[in-house]
Symmetry: C2
Subunit: 143 residues, 2 copies
């Protein structure tokens, strides 16, 4: 029998990510957020970042791009920035109460999105998918 003809895995990956990403965009927007804001919030909550450079790395964007988003988030009352007394070059980014609340709303939206994505797939399949994706990503890391 002939080998099955499949689309290039990069194409399948890109198409799936586009579809899933748009659905996630809508879910986040309905909860008052966006993907960059969600990435920044989750990094602030779950990672101990020493400065904005590390925060930008955690989110996967440039420092100036992070500043752009933090400006918007500060204007929206989600975060505050103040200088680190121990090293006044460093700006400490902290969540406000509104930022905490948005984080929880977006977390709920993200969980609901994930449950929707996982529908029809077993835990073992999800675990294998995650493993395969991580191995794929490792092949193109730090380009």
């Amino acid at each position: 029998m002939p080998a099955p003809v499949t689309a290039p895995i990069g194409v399948v990956l890109a198409r799936t990510a586009k579809t899933a990403g748009r659905a996630f965009d809508q879910a986040l927007a309905a909860a008052g957020g966006s993907q960059p804001v969600w990435q920044i919030l989750i990094s602030l909550k779950t990672t101990a970042v020493a400065n904005q450079r590390e925060l930008a790395d955690a989110v996967g964007i440039q420092g100036a791009t992070l500043t752009h988003h933090l400006n918007g988030m500060e204007a929206a009352g989600l975060v505050t920035r103040r200088r680190d007394p121990g090293n006044r070059r460093v700006h400490l980014v902290e969540l406000t109460e509104a930022g905490e609340q948005l984080f929880h709303r977006l977390a709920s939206a993200a969980i609901a999105h994930d449950q929707r994505l996982r529908k029809g797939l077993s835990d073992a399949e999800i675990a294998q998918l995650a493993d395969l994706l991580q191995r794929l990503a490792a092949n193109v890391a730090d380009t």
Copy 2:
């Protein structure tokens, strides 16, 4: 033993797609293209589209967005647009010789990118990954 703790599959998917997509961007740019241009070229070459609306659907963008890209591609000498004599509302999009050549260059880049992505994964694993991704995408289709 406790269940393994994995990041939400949506997060893994988004992160992998971002990493792989950026690597693909660079590969296409080095070959003189971009992802939208590549999607349009491959759709023109492999799908029988009756009009620009169908082409836009195949690429996954709006008609006006397609026009934007076709304007650039026409200015770059990659495609021509002429009216269909049988229905002059329809604009027939055709590849020029330069468009054909760019298609082949980008196809080579895409193949190389895919081989890089697949490194270390067996054909069976790739097939299963594609299957899992397609089932994931089906869960959020036509949002």
